[in-house]
């Protein structure tokens, strides 16, 4: 087993952790960020599997545009935790 294999398995383990964490986190903003890191890891994995075209698409769509759309929607709904009421609700 060479280094690339070990690296691949490490990435896959972290991806599984990310996938579970996406479901279990309470705050929506955290969920979106974890989902983005999942996409970025997937992008590295595509490169290791020798399909760079998928890696480019994953980086642009999965990690980039989807995350931005999620963030814009969350901000419109007021779930980013940026305003005072959210913070106070979190402390209670």
């Amino acid at each position: 087993m060479d280094l690339t294999e070990i690296f691949k398995i490490l990435i896959m383990i972290v991806m599984i952790i990310c996938a579970i964490a996406t479901n279990l986190t309470k705050k929506l903003l955290t969920t979106v960020i974890i989902f983005m890191s999942y996409s970025s890891l997937m992008c590295i994995l595509w490169i290791l599997l020798e399909s760079p075209d998928l890696a480019i698409t994953e980086a642009a769509v999965g990690a980039g545009v989807t995350t931005i759309l999620f963030l814009v929607t969350l901000k419109k709904l007021g779930h980013t935790g940026g305003n005072e009421e959210e913070k106070e609700a979190g402390h209670e």
Binding site: L49, P52, D53, I56, T57, A60, V65, L69, V72, K75
Partner: protein
């Protein structure tokens, strides 16, 4: 259900009138409202009956939720693992294939002229699928436009003022110096990379969708850094619509020509060129460009519609 909402359902008056009036009133201060709400909530929550109801409802629903969630996850994982176990190992020799795959691999280069076999597949053998995908994106953009677009026909002028005051200032990230500095350096590079992927779709990995997505992302970064005003000067809604329309109809006509000549055994006049040159592979390069333009416009259109409800200036 509050009364004004019911009246609005009956069509007596506009529900938003009252919402707007309330939002512009000075009214009681924020602290008073918050204290009142807190007192009310604690009064409700602390009645023993409510507590019991919540606990019972929570318990049953929680157990049901966990059981169903775990079950469906396990079933899904099982099905996926079963399917994956049927695939050949990565890099295995002598894989049993069907004749379609062999045809693609053995005759792909001479029949399509594309060095990148994947591009040859999706834009030549299966170009009809790709046309469908582009149309799906375009349809999605139309649906988002119908739902989220704000214009004179779609909204009250007072509502527009409300949104402009309450939301746009709050969401505006343009004018941030860090964003602008990073954008100045990154946006041209990302744009060049996207164009490179588009133009080399038939030679190297990538193609219409990847290149278009990268270009769309670059446009989104530019828009976030420099604001919508700068984008509106060049990229209006009308222009975006015409570009997408032109790209899609070019795709239809080009592929229609190929399908027509192919089905009737006529001679195809589009030259294949030498494989490996930038102007080769017949129609694949122009089709790549068309798909890329549709994807880039759609990506930016999504962002723009989500952010403020319209693409470009009107």
């Amino acid at each position: 259900m509050n009364e004004s909402f019911l009246r609005w359902l009956d069509g007596d008056d506009s529900y938003f009138d009252q919402v707007l009036d309330n939002s512009f009133d000075e009214g009681p201060s924020r602290e008073t409202v918050k204290a009142e709400r807190k007192a009310m909530m604690s009064a409700i929550v602390h009645t023993p009956r409510h507590r019991r109801a919540v606990a019972a409802g929570n318990r049953t629903m929680r157990y049901l939720y966990y059981v169903v969630a775990v079950l469906s996850a396990v079933i899904l994982i099982g099905v996926l693992l079963f399917c994956v176990s049927g695939l050949p190992r990565y890099g295995q020799e002598n894989v049993r294939t069907n004749e379609v795959v062999e045809r693609y691999i053995e005759h792909g280069l001479e029949e399509t002229g594309a060095v990148n076999t994947v591009a040859g597949m999706i834009l030549d053998y299966r170009a009809f699928d790709t046309l469908g995908e582009s149309n799906v994106l375009f349809t999605a953009l139309i649906c988002v436009t119908i739902l989220l677009r704000r214009d004179r026909k779609n909204m009250d002028t007072r509502l527009e003022d409300y949104y402009r005051i309450v939301q746009d200032r709050y969401f505006d990230t343009s004018g941030d110096e860090i964003l602008q500095g990073v954008g100045m350096v990154l946006v041209p590079c990302i744009f060049l990379f996207g164009i490179y992927i588009l133009l080399n779709g038939h030679l190297s990995p990538g193609g219409g969708f990847s290149g278009g997505a990268v270009m769309g992302a670059a446009m989104i970064i530019f828009c976030g850094a420099f604001g919508f005003d700068r984008v509106d000067r060049v990229f209006t809604r009308r222009l975006s619509g015409w570009i997408t329309f032109a790209a899609l109809s070019f795709y239809c006509m080009a592929k229609g020509y190929v399908f027509f000549t192919g089905a009737n055994h006529l001679e195809n006049h589009i030259p294949k060129g030498t494989p490996g040159a930038i102007l080769s592979a017949g129609l694949i390069l122009p089709l790549d460009l068309a798909v890329g333009i549709v994807v880039a416009c759609t990506m930016f259109g999504f962002y723009s519609l989500f952010r403020r409800g319209s693409i470009g200036g009107n």
